[in-house]
Symmetry: C2
Subunit: 472 residues, 2 copies
């Protein structure tokens, strides 16, 4: 049995070293959406491969071919596969993470250079420090800590690190499908550390994600944009029709106006109701972080239920109308309204698309406009929810309790992480989302940071989780 106290102390004492490694990672500008940074993005994968090899993993780079970006054909970064341990008597954990990052420039409003790690007040500022280079490195540090202390890992570990996550994970799903009977065939558990705590103080495990159904509502009827002075008053304006349609989708309190849309929402079990009751969540702090004067509901449980286990509808905008500053005297000829619905168990994209399509066509009939109407679904993704009592989750919970001294909250996220479902479907096994970073890490935004605390405790937590999986 391992001596936690001693190993944990070692991790803390090793902090300057762990920070230097994160600094190196942050310095590589692996912005996957920027073709001019594609070389750096590929270099980041190689850098990561070397890190995995240092802890003894056998690695391979999975070539994904080329992609066309901004009119140029450029190579996709390869996916990094790693294998640490092949003991048939042990179970196998698959770890997923990504080493590409969102774009960042100091001029966007950063207080420091985004690609230079800066420690200030216990915070490690830098692009990727939290999403997702920091957590990815926590795995490496955790395993090295075990090795330094001659602790044998009770499981085999496989790594799947990609560098296109921030750009739609191009090519990854196809690769994983091809590897279902290969690299993925012996996976018993999957763990992804690429989400966030619900707040800033208490750790949590994420067991649910909402899915999404997107919609396009197109109205046309005049053959080109017209001058509103010359034609105003004597044509049926497509944008006026669209505004009316878009105004019929939600109530002022942001409930969905589409009949029967809530019908398939899974009933709440008593166990689940207790989770919501016990969760630590400060509504006032949340409201203030959003900058709203009032929320549709300020009851903690109702709010979280609406965020995580009920559908919601958001209107995003209009394509084809005037969007610039100032004024333009145009009657737009063809406009496309964009909205999406977040879906939850037991809703299916098929049924949602049908219900919404029917509702839109009925609205259009009611409108009685002679313009041309075309509503169609865009991309969709299923929701995901896991059993919080499966051995993978229980191991994660024990690890967090051990490190933080408190039982973690079980939370969901309102958004999709499509790869979660992919791993679950291809391995047929449990996927755990184990967040390392805090809610205020500002992933995708200016001044992204990872707390020194979260980074160190993250190493301890992942090590503890690996050890706990041995008895799972």
């Amino acid at each position: 049995k391992m001596d936690h106290a001693k190993i944990f102390q070692g991790i803390e004492e090793d902090y300057e070293n762990l920070k230097e490694i994160l600094r190196e990672a942050v310095a590589i500008q692996s912005v996957s959406s920027d073709p001019s940074k594609r070389d750096e993005t590929i270099r980041m994968v190689h850098w990561m491969k070397a890190k995995l090899e240092e802890i003894g993993a056998t690695c391979s780079l999975q070539d994904l071919g080329n992609q066309t970006l901004e009119g140029k054909e450029i190579p996709l970064p390869p996916v990094l596969f790693g294998t640490l341990g092949t003991d048939k008597s042990k179970k196998t954990l698959l770890v997923y993470g990504h080493v590409d990052v969102q774009p960042a420039q100091k001029s966007d409003g950063w207080d420091t250079e985004p690609f230079e790690l800066v420690e200030k007040d216990g915070k490690l500022f830098g692009r990727g420090s939290s999403d997702d280079k920091g957590p990815v490195l926590c795995w490496v540090h955790a395993i090295r800590a075990a090795q330094k202390n001659n602790v044998e890992l009770p499981i085999n570990i496989k790594f799947c690190f990609e560098a296109m996550e921030e750009s739609g994970s191009v090519g990854l799903e196809d690769l994983l499908k091809r590897e279902q009977k290969g690299f993925l065939s012996d996976v018993d558990f999957t763990c992804i550390s690429d989400s966030y705590w619900l707040g800033t103080k208490k750790p949590c495990l994420t067991y649910g994600l909402r899915g999404i159904c997107s919609f396009f509502v197109e109205v046309s009827g005049i053959k080109q944009d017209l001058h509103s002075g010359v034609f105003g008053g004597v044509v049926h304006e497509p944008l006026a029709d669209l505004f009316w349609i878009m105004s019929q989708l939600t109530t002022v309190e942001n409930r969905i106006s589409i009949p029967s849309i809530y019908d398939d929402v899974a009933p709440m079990s008593e166990v689940e109701a207790r989770i919501y009751k016990e969760i630590e969540f400060d509504v006032k702090e949340f409201r203030e972080s959003v900058g709203a004067s009032k929320l549709p509901t300020e009851d903690k449980e109702t709010l979280l239920i609406r965020r995580w286990r009920e559908p919601s509808l958001t209107v995003h905008g209009v394509e084809g109308a005037f969007y610039g500053k100032g004024e333009k005297t145009v009657i737009p000829s063809k406009v496309i309204g964009k909205f999406s619905i977040r879906i939850v168990p037991n809703m299916t994209p098929e049924k949602v698309n049908k219900i919404v399509g029917d509702y839109l066509n009925e609205l259009w009939k009611k409108r009685g406009s002679p313009n041309t109407f075309n509503a169609k679904p865009g991309h969709s993704a299923m929701s995901w929810v896991a059993d919080v009592n499966d051995p993978n989750f229980l191991a994660g919970a024990r690890a967090m309790k051990l490190v933080h001294g408190v039982e973690p909250d079980r939370i969901r996220e309102g958004c999709s992480i499509p790869i979660t479902l992919t791993f679950q479907e291809l391995t047929g096994k449990s996927v755990l989302l184990l967040p390392i970073g805090a809610a205020d890490d500002m992933a995708h935004s200016q001044n992204e940071k990872n707390n020194k605390f979260n980074y160190i405790e993250g190493v301890k937590t992942l090590l503890s989780y690996i050890m706990e999986l041995g008895s799972a």
Copy 2:
């Protein structure tokens, strides 16, 4: 008394020469909105000055200083003033026109090079051939025709040609105000040839223009754009509020829903009603040119009345929301809806702004959203309507009858030409809009053209108008 037949024949015989002069003018790329073409735009004014001097006008260039365009400070093109005749016993006509043009590139969808005049099937294709270089040159050709035939002009003529019309006539109004007691002090009539026939066959005089009141409707309430997965369902979405507000402005038949907005519309006199009855206008052709399957009204008189002498409301678009192609999972934090109302006599911007502001604020109260709402008026312009029986209009009508053999229609335009009101107010005298080009000239669009017919008859018409003014 002049020998019309002989002079008109001379104009026709001079066609190749008139075309070459238009070719020269079209070849100068005087795109006033493009800073890289500012030198050409200024060159165009100088070229025009030489043309006026050739017919004996005394010219001056009115410096307007600099402007900042796309971050660069560049000189404004000067305004060209010209004076032809200073006989105190004669009345004085002021001619306004512009020698700048809209941008054009062959790749926009032109069949020919936009800055090379091409004659095809009796049409002279080229940017500016109709708006407004062609009509401006018609004045010069008309006067030269009189001079060639030793016909003394019965009036003095002043010219005011600018080269910033397509870019908001920057500086012109201030210059004219300064010149109210100077250059403009002895003007008896003004004539502007910068609009279009109602159709393609019958000439017309334009006696009315609608004004405009623009509005901005801003809704905010969250401090930054939010992820719809994470926050969808638990905030009041500003864009949903805005869509609802914007949907409450017009009916499906494009009538304005704002109470009392039609109250100040001037009652229709019998004389005016007869104008609408007699006007030549093909509704079916109009509907097809717009590309609509149906119009809110297909009754000729009602349609023209709605276009010219009733207010109309157009929704233009939304600033701050997602406007790109595809999907984006954003909850926009601050959105601004844009709409404008075309106003007619006896509506005033002050009252319209008040009525609309009150209505919007009332709607917002009805909406009951906790978001922040701010409706404010943008720019406005008065409508303009002239007396079709004043001597200036009667002279124009006689000239058209002489050249075309038919009584011209008296029409209005739905849009604003703000300079019309400026001249009327500063001179205190009648302003006539005398269109030379046909309705299908495609000003501002691809393949702009002027018919050979309209160009030649335009010279005859302007000459006849000048002669008729002598007895006005």
